[in-house]
């Protein structure tokens, strides 16, 4: 995927990149970088192909002053900085000892990086505006992004939007009762991003459900998922996960917030 490779830009020239609904314009002048972006709102507008000459008139460039004069840059894809709550279109139930593998499609953010080994990050820009949601009880919990999606089971040979990271999740119910859930929280800070010919992938997440009231055991695999070959590692996780840890990932209850 050419979008994620190293690029060069001449002084004074404006380059254009399109990442899903996000349109990005880039300029460089000595030690200054200028970035401007907007997002296409309507689905039909996403078919539009633009270039630097079709910049919106009211576009505002953000200016970044750096130490290095280098004119090389790279866009590094990452999952969102907050955890993501996935709400399946229909309720999911896994019977005892049952295992289910599905794929969550997570809109990515990218880091505009420059400098030696592209370690200097100028900005981090989400490709899509995600809705806020809360995972947990109103008195304690944490802020997440919300994604409504059909959790797909079969994605063989299917190409997704360029701004999507496909996260394979395997859930095993090792308890003696059914696991029924309406929401699943994915800890995006532990996801590694791999690139293939067709899609971006994250490492596989293995969840072991131990029963209601008990914490699930979560493992983030180190290697690339064996779903598209070859896969090349693009970015490391924001936070390296431990080998195995327990955390609450499922929300089986709908919190009733009605009434006054």
């Amino acid at each position: 995927m050419e979008l994620w490779k190293e690029s060069e830009i001449e002084n004074g020239v404006c380059q254009y990149r399109r990442i899903g609904p996000l349109r990005l314009w880039i300029q460089h002048e000595n030690k200054e970088w200028l970035l401007a972006y907007d997002r296409l709102v309507k689905k039909e507008d996403e078919e539009e192909t633009s270039d630097e000459d079709n910049k919106p008139e009211d576009l505002e460039f953000n200016r970044y002053f750096v130490k290095d004069k280098s004119n090389k840059f790279k866009l590094l894809p990452y999952p969102p900085e907050r955890d993501v709550v996935i709400k399946p279109e229909s309720k999911i139930r896994i019977i005892p000892e049952g295992t289910m593998t599905f794929f969550a499609v997570i809109p990515l953010v990218f880091k505009f990086s420059i400098g030696k080994d592209f370690k200097q990050i100028i900005d981090e820009i989400p490709t899509q505006e995600l809705s806020n949601t809360w995972f947990g009880e109103p008195v304690n919990g944490f802020l997440c992004y919300s994604i409504k999606t059909a959790l797909m089971q079969n994605i063989k040979n299917r190409a997704f939007d360029i701004n999507s990271i496909i996260c394979p999740i395997t859930v095993k119910n090792s308890s003696s009762s059914d696991l029924e859930f309406t929401r699943l929280c994915v800890r995006t800070k532990h996801l590694t991003v791999f690139v293939g010919e067709m899609n971006l992938w994250s490492n596989r997440v293995n969840v072991l459900y131990r029963g209601s009231g008990q914490e699930s055991s979560i493992k983030y695999e180190d290697k690339a998922p064996d779903l598209e070959r070859p896969l090349k590692k693009l970015t490391e996780p924001r936070v390296k996960p431990g080998n195995n840890f327990s955390i609450k990932s499922f929300d089986t209850f709908r919190f009733l917030a009605g009434g006054q």
Binding site: W134, F135, N140, L143, A257, G258, G259, Q260
Partner: protein
């Protein structure tokens, strides 16, 4: 002559003695005060690492006032003032002072209860009566808050114990409640769908907990709908403005009427017009 010299010598000795005592007292005062400032500062810093901000503030102030008390005692001792006499006199005045300082003592005790109960901490936004602001400090006698119009407000602790205190930032999320009234001719289900759609489209509105929609009442002038959306505390002002504006704009676009209060005058018959009589100045029909 000798007695005169002796007197002068005594005066000089007294003067010397007084000068020495004064100098010693001054040294104690200056060094003591500076030392006290340093000690209370460092202890306050150390306390902040282990305790909450208000507890650390309390520890620092307690050490400061206690130290000040010790310095005063030392200075009085330098002047050979009998402390027992002072304490004795204090006992007499204590009763008088006790009556006079009932409110202050009540505030101090209320302050201790507040610190133990922890209904809020420094930095929280609280509402006490008509006052809304950020808590700046929690002291023995009172708390200080900064209003959003940058007013400095002092609230005695006794008042806080006796009245309701709302802590707006205690929990990370809260609900924005909007009362929406629509004309009786409107389709309530359609109105609720529109409101739900507005909530879904606004990224600041949390998807979970889900927005609350309740058909509240058949009001005097309108159908009353309760619309509650959840949000993160920091987004309050922006969300309130955006949500109210988007409701108005969407209702206008959809042709949904928001009625103002009105009264229908019923003259005895639904279909007959209300009779109107025009008279001249004398009251006769013209």
């Amino acid at each position: 002559m000798e007695s005169l010299t002796g007197i002068f010598a005594n005066i000089k000795n007294i003067e010397n003695f007084s000068s020495i005592v004064l100098i010693r007292a001054l040294i104690i005062a200056v060094i003591g005060y500076l030392g006290l400032q340093l000690i209370s500062f460092f202890i306050g810093k150390a306390a902040e690492k282990n305790l909450s901000k208000q507890s650390a503030m309390l520890v620092q102030k307690s050490i400061y006032y206690f130290g000040l008390f010790i310095i005063i005692i030392l200075i009085l001792q330098e002047f050979k003032v009998k402390l027992s006499a002072i304490l004795g006199a204090a006992g007499v005045f204590g009763i008088a002072i006790g009556f006079a300082s009932q409110t202050s003592i009540s505030n101090i005790i209320s302050g201790i209860f507040l610190i133990g109960e922890k209904p809020f901490k420094v930095g929280d936004i609280i509402k006490v009566g008509e006052h809304l602001g950020v808590v700046l400090s929690i002291d023995l006698l009172s708390i200080k808050i900064r209003g959003f119009d940058n007013k400095f407000i002092r609230i005695p602790n006794e008042n806080l114990i006796k009245t309701e205190v709302s802590n707006i930032t205690r929990f990370p999320i809260r609900r924005l409640d909007i009362e929406v009234g629509v004309a009786y001719k409107e389709d309530v289900r359609r109105v609720m769908d529109i409101l739900r759609d507005l909530a879904n489209k606004n990224p600041m509105v949390l998807d979970e907990p889900e927005p609350t929609l309740i058909f509240k009442n058949f009001g005097d002038s309108s159908l009353e709908i309760f619309f509650g959306v959840w949000f993160v505390n920091a987004d309050y002002v922006k969300l309130k403005n955006e949500m109210m504006i988007s409701i108005k704009e969407r209702f206008d676009a959809e042709g949904i009427e928001i009625p103002f209060p009105h009264r229908t005058i019923y003259a005895g018959s639904v279909t007959d017009p209300i009779p109107v009589k025009i008279t001249n100045e004398g009251g006769q029909a013209s």
